[in-house]
């Protein structure tokens, strides 16, 4: 079983597998997002404190969850690549990074749009907002470093070291920012959410979170396919595939 799974560590074997999986995960992402949005807009009740504007939560919270989770996943792939010297791991890490950065940006952006009606400001130096911003910088640094190094092996390894240093630092940054915030601002603004969330709200959020998972997997897999093709363009199997496609066309 293990050896059969491990054969997919070779880019050549993983490429067709990823190609088969992408439509499934894309379909699941679409279906779950539709269901989640339906629950979010038509089933979940209006919040008695925030009115309708709270519905941003259905985008905001799943995006924030994914942004943090994807950094850990990325660092795991990077660490695996560094330890076992597998080529695919580095490619997976580079495929995940843009999606993670996108979700971080979405979390910040939707947070700003949510903050305007509830807090009266697009941006407050709240601990969670600020650490999310630092997370975005970490993603951007990772992407910038990888794209600055032309040699793929070197770029993967350098990126891996940076991701590992970053993953050690993320919790430290989070707690230091929290500490900083409590000292500077006293009682800071917090989400004035009802103590217990309605079951339908939770359901909508979970559906959207699952949709975000499926979307991340689908985009990461299709992006890794492009990376594989780009890096293995001189390999015999890619040439064969290309010739086959040309003949079909």
């Amino acid at each position: 079983m293990t050896s059969r799974l491990l054969q997919f560590a070779a880019p050549q074997a993983f490429f067709p597998l990823a190609g088969k999986l992408v439509p499934w995960f894309s379909f699941l992402a679409g279906a779950l997002a539709l269901a989640g949005l339906y629950v979010a807009f038509f089933v979940a009740p209006t919040d008695h404190q925030q009115g309708e504007s709270y519905r941003i939560i259905f985008i905001h919270v799943p995006a924030a969850w994914m942004s943090m989770f994807l950094y850990v996943v990325m660092a795991c792939w990077a660490g695996l690549g560094l330890a076992l010297n597998t080529r695919l791991s580095g490619m997976m890490a580079s495929a995940i990074a843009p999606t993670g950065a996108m979700f971080t940006f979405v979390a910040l952006w939707s947070g700003a749009l949510w903050g305007r009606p509830t807090w009266g400001a697009y941006w407050v130096w709240d601990a969670r907002l600020t650490s999310e911003l630092v997370l975005l910088f970490l993603y951007l640094g990772f992407i910038a470093l990888k794209s600055a190094i032309p040699d793929p092996t070197r770029s993967d390894r350098a990126g891996a070291i940076l991701a590992l240093v970053g993953v050690v630092n993320v919790p430290i940054i989070y707690f230091s920012v929290q500490w900083w915030n409590t000292l500077h601002q006293g009682a800071s603004v917090s989400l004035t959410r009802a103590p217990s969330m309605a079951a339908t709200m939770l359901l909508g959020m979970l559906l959207m979170a699952l949709a975000a998972w499926m979307y991340s997997i689908a985009t990461a897999l299709s992006r890794v396919r492009s990376i594989i093709l780009e890096r293995e363009r001189d390999a015999a199997w890619v040439q064969l595939q290309r010739d086959g496609m040309r003949a079909a066309a």
Binding site: L145, A148, V165, V168
Partner: protein, 221 residues
């Protein structure tokens, strides 16, 4: 241990022969800190409240400015490759280079910081704390910065990239370092800040040299 002392002495001797390099960083630090009042106005209370943050941010920028040179010269003339193949552990050599970097940039910055504190009207007690917090915090800049310098070694656009990589990692140092000074102004005991700064120094003394060594091996592969 002999290797550590040898490399450290070499670093210091090279710096002594090119005094301008270390001096420029120090002047840059003071110039950046002196620019802030032009931007925000000369109101004394506001400046006093900003002083620690300004001094610390100027220190971070000065560190980032000085870091690309940490490995660049040795990389250019091939010394770095010799260090990699030397029988002495690479971590020891890297640690010596980091120590040299701190003695040439971090320490002078910490000693020059009271000058900025005086410009901003800090009381004597806060001036002392500014030095102490910089003494504990600037080694972190050299330790984590060495990792960034090694990662961007020989990479195009290395300087700006280095800043993008390491500045977010410096956030905890900035929070606790500037926080220690600011807290005394409001009469809070700064020891918690300093302890956390020390803890972060301990963590980065493990992470920094490891990452720098790994990155150097990758860069010279």
């Amino acid at each position: 241990m002999r290797a550590f002392v040898t490399v450290l002495r070499r670093e210091l001797r090279i710096a002594l022969r090119r005094k301008g390099d270390a001096l420029n960083v120090l002047v840059f630090f003071i110039v950046v800190a002196s620019l802030f009042p032009f931007g925000v106005g000369p109101e004394a209370n506001q400046l006093r409240a900003m002083a620690a943050g300004v001094a610390w941010i100027a220190a971070l920028l000065a560190a980032v400015l000085s870091l690309p040179r940490l490995f660049a010269a040795d990389h250019a003339d091939g010394t770095l490759e010799q260090m990699l193949v030397a029988p002495q552990p690479l971590a020891l050599i890297v640690l010596a280079k980091i120590a040299g970097h701190w003695l040439l940039t971090g320490l002078p910055l910490a000693l020059a910081a009271p000058l900025i504190g005086l410009q901003y009207g800090l009381p004597a007690e806060a001036l002392g704390l500014l030095i102490v917090s910089l003494l504990i915090g600037t080694p972190v800049l050299s330790l984590l910065g060495a990792a960034g310098a090694a990662l961007t070694l020989g990479v195009r656009g290395g300087g700006a990239l280095l800043g993008l990589l390491v500045l977010p990692l410096f956030v905890p140092v900035l929070v606790f370092g500037a926080g220690a000074v600011t807290s005394t102004l409001t009469g809070i005991n700064p020891s918690a800040h300093l302890s956390l700064l020390g803890a972060f120094l301990a963590v980065s003394s493990l992470v920094g040299p490891w990452a720098a060594c790994a990155a150097l091996r990758v860069a010279l592969d």
